[in-house]
């Protein structure tokens, strides 16, 4: 692991020796570019891979092809406009991204949000988590050559997207959070329809599960491949399902609870943290699969609670021009892919002075340079797909 650099320099020297030929079977390492446009990369990630035959000697993720300067753009937008931009960096967990921004602003303002808004936000965040996980549960087998799970995953996604669209109007970029609560109240009968959707997804989840769990082809491609050690997890700041698949038992919903998670993750609550110990691609997939169940449990608990709360608003009245008092704060939330943090520095203006974004995929992708060396080219896809990243979240 630590000798990656020396390997690379060795490579250069050897690459120059081609043709000089020290004997019959002298081979030169080959530099292979994977991407920027490659079906296995979910966007425009480029990997510079040095190959010795079929085996990867070193790998270098080259990022930045999708850099949009989100942090700089935040500085010239007011807090409502920031939500528009913030929900776009990880386009699979737009609700979670919005949530971090509004929680940071509410924290700075010392604003209390109504209880119904807290529970509705928790519900929507969990539904969004299921959506994101289902996306990867469909696309990862697709990268390994199995098309069918994609259709199953998308059928369940459709079910949940329909209810999210009914409440927020959007299927991906919800724009439903506002500082102080939600944009507008939930439509009549919506909670019932969410419950139906959750039940339906839960009922049909075994279809996709039976294709993934215990599938001999999938096992052969993922078991023991791309093993990530807990030390590397700590060294690179890897978080989310990938870290938990390596046995690092950390989940911000339980460890630094926000919204209603303190109650959901209390003793006897429906919340639990899913971990595995092997840290290979299969473990990462299994964590994702089990987290879907946990999230559906949490969503049902939120539905129960929303059905018994007293009548009340879901947002606060805001001033026409919202100014955040001088100061700074850091708010991190457990997004589907890992820690998503916002460091907000305000100088009392209506725009932030600085809004630093700590995105989950950025750290998760960096660790590829440690776990890819030693793998075969064919395993590269298996490892890359199991790191569960969104390139927009890497490049910001």
């Amino acid at each position: 692991m630590g000798q990656t650099c020396t390997v690379t320099s060795d490579t250069r020297r050897r690459a120059l020796d081609v043709g000089v030929g020290a004997g019959g079977l002298a081979t030169a390492d080959m530099i292979l570019n994977i991407g920027p446009q490659h079906p296995a990369t979910h966007g425009v990630l480029r990997l510079r891979i040095v190959l010795d035959g079929e085996r990867i000697v070193s790998a270098d993720p080259v990022i930045g092809y999708m850099h949009r300067g989100a942090e700089k753009l935040f500085e010239v937008r007011d807090y409502r406009q920031i939500i528009v931009l913030a929900n776009r960096h990880d386009w699979l967990s737009a609700f979670g991204n919005e949530l971090g921004v509004v929680l940071a602003v509410e924290h700075m303002l010392g604003m209390e949000i109504p209880e119904r808004a807290t529970w509705a936000r928790t519900l929507l965040a969990e539904l969004n988590r299921v959506l994101s996980h289902l996306m990867f549960l469909g696309s990862y087998p697709l990268e390994l050559g199995a098309i069918t799970p994609m259709f199953y995953a998308f059928r369940e996604r459709e079910e949940l997207q329909a209810v999210l669209e009914e409440a927020s109007g959007g299927r991906m970029h919800y724009m439903f959070n506002r500082v102080g609560g939600l944009k507008e109240d939930l439509p009549a009968g919506w909670l019932g329809r969410v419950r139906e959707a959750v039940t339906e997804v839960r009922r049909r989840l075994p279809d996709i599960e039976s294709m993934l769990v215990g599938n001999p082809i999938l096992r052969a491609r993922t078991e023991g491949v791309g093993r990530l050690s807990p030390e590397l997890v700590h060294a690179y700041g890897v978080s989310g399902p990938i870290a938990r698949a390596s046995g690092v038992d950390v989940d911000l919903r339980r460890d630094a609870p926000y919204l209603a998670y303190a109650e959901l993750y209390a003793q006897g609550g429906p919340g639990r943290v899913v971990t595995r110990i092997s840290g290979d691609s299969l473990a990462r997939l299994e964590v994702l699969l089990e987290q879907v169940h946990v999230s559906l449990d949490l969503a049902e608990a939120c539905l129960d609670r929303l059905g018994s709360l007293p009548q009340g608003p879901v947002n606060q009245r805001l001033p026409k021009v919202l100014k955040v008092p001088e100061g700074e704060t850091y708010v991190a939330t457990e997004n589907p892919l890992g820690f998503n943090g916002y460091f907000l520095v305000s100088r009392g203006e209506k725009t932030p002075w600085r809004l630093k974004l700590r995105s989950a995929s950025f750290s998760n992708v960096q660790v590829l340079r440690e776990i890819l060396p030693g793998c075969l080219v064919a395993d590269m896809v298996s490892v890359l797909g199991s790191m569960f990243f969104v390139v927009g979240d890497v490049d910001k």
Partner: protein, 208 residues
């Protein structure tokens, strides 16, 4: 760094996997398809669905709030002032804004809905209408005539959850009427209400 694979696998487990896959296929085959035959079968979209932004031109006062608040400035407004001469019974001339151009560039629009939220005169609305794709990106700049046509497709807003807060008007109407403030002494039962005495310059206990 990966250890060698266990290459030889039980052929029975592979066959079992194959069979279970085929069983799922067979089971699904008997169920109706989820596919909607789109142009023949219209999708039923919820009223909040963000398809396109419609403009009610009569309500627009060209106040420019939407154009200013738009995160990527994709709304273009031109207007001029017109003078309405004073009526026969006197008064003075009035000026009013006349909207010349209202255009939204849907190739830039991020569908956030901030323009609709900030509009103080209810001139902008979301419509679930989505069939306005163009071959050329430049044709996505839609002027006020086209935006006005979409007004016909705007659905009424959905009813809200029974636990939602009352609308502002209802809440205001239900609030108990404000009672006239009285001096604290007068509130005790049995005391006769007296006209309020002028307050001393520096009262230690100022009431009211």
């Amino acid at each position: 760094m990966t250890e060698p694979r266990k290459e030889s696998r039980n052929p029975f487990s592979a066959a079992r996997g194959l069979l279970s896959g085929m069983r799922t296929t067979a089971r699904t085959m008997t169920r109706p398809a989820h596919t909607q035959q789109y142009p023949d079968e219209r999708p039923s979209l919820p009223p909040r669905s963000r398809g396109v932004i419609a403009l009610r031109e009569e309500n627009c006062t060209s106040c420019m709030l939407c154009a200013r608040e738009c995160p990527d400035w994709c709304i273009y407004i031109d207007s001029h002032k017109e003078t309405i001469p004073a009526g026969p019974e006197g008064g003075r001339d009035r000026q009013r804004n006349v909207l010349d151009r209202f255009a939204i560039d849907f190739s830039l629009c991020m569908y956030c809905g901030i323009c609709i939220e900030v509009c103080p005169f209810d001139a902008l609305f979301w419509s679930p209408q989505f069939e306005y794709a163009e071959v050329d990106i430049r044709d996505l700049l839609h002027e006020k005539d086209r935006l006005g046509e979409w007004m016909a497709t705007v659905p009424p807003p959905p009813a809200l959850d029974e636990r939602s807060a009352d609308p502002a008007e209802v809440a205001a109407a239900n609030r108990p009427a404000r009672t006239a403030r009285e001096p604290r002494a007068a509130r005790e039962p049995g005391t006769v209400r007296e006209p309020r005495a002028p307050r001393p310059p520096a009262a230690p206990e100022a009431d009211g």
